[in-house]
């Protein structure tokens, strides 16, 4: 996979609310099974997608490099990998200079 493809995959991967919730839950606890993720999405986010649909979301996140899977015992577990998201900050760096990062002078603290 070349770098351009990878960029496209990151943006597509995080463009979906369910996939962002999956990443939130994997940040909360690394190494979850499909069952645990589905339980958390249903109970904490009100996302009642089928296991098959969640499995497809996981495939997209894995293709984008945002999650890794590993077998532990006889179960397949999922881990969040944040490194590919660094590409976003490198492409559009956030200036630490208040004037440059906030050219309209709008109060961004609210």
């Amino acid at each position: 996979m070349n770098l351009e493809d990878l960029h496209v995959d990151i943006y597509r991967a995080i463009a979906d609310r369910t996939r962002r919730a999956i990443l939130d839950e994997l940040v909360d606890r690394s190494g979850q099974s499909l069952f645990e993720l589905c339980s958390r999405l249903t109970m904490k986010h009100g996302i009642n997608s089928s296991r098959q649909a969640i499995s497809q979301h996981l495939d997209i996140l894995e293709a984008a490099g945002l999650i890794r899977t590993r077998r532990e015992g006889r179960s397949k577990l999922h881990w969040f990998v944040g490194a590919p998201l660094k590409a976003i900050g490198e492409r559009w760096p956030v200036s630490t200079d208040h004037g440059i990062s906030n050219p309209t002078g709008e109060d961004t603290r609210k």
């Binding site: 099974s33 499909l34 069952f35 645990e36 015992g73």
Partner: protein, 131 residues
Amino acid sequence: MRIHLTGVFVDDQRKALRFYTETLGFSLKHNIPLGEHAWITVVSEEAPEGTELLLEPAEHPAVGPFRKALVEDGIPSASFAVDDVGAEHERLVARGVRFVQPPTDLGAVITAVFDDSCGNLIQLTEQKPQP
């Protein structure tokens, strides 16, 4: 109509009986020899006349692929109600039980999932008081 009996498929009935009684704390209800295997059920000490759990031999050829797929995705074969998932987790870990999901607060319930060492994942569920 009431739910009288449900079951889990177990790799080894004698090992399973030890785990479900000595480790988990259920009571033996029936142990009827049936040739190579036995009709073994356990019940909760809190409800000796309640639903029986059958420890069923896993020898049917469909059981292997079925359980393999469930365990791969972390799906429990049964769910048991407890008053305090955290305390049960502590008690069972001290007895060498391997948890694949530690106690997790899901809002209305707290759940945890462990490996019964007989081929199944089992969920513990604590209902939180409704506000």
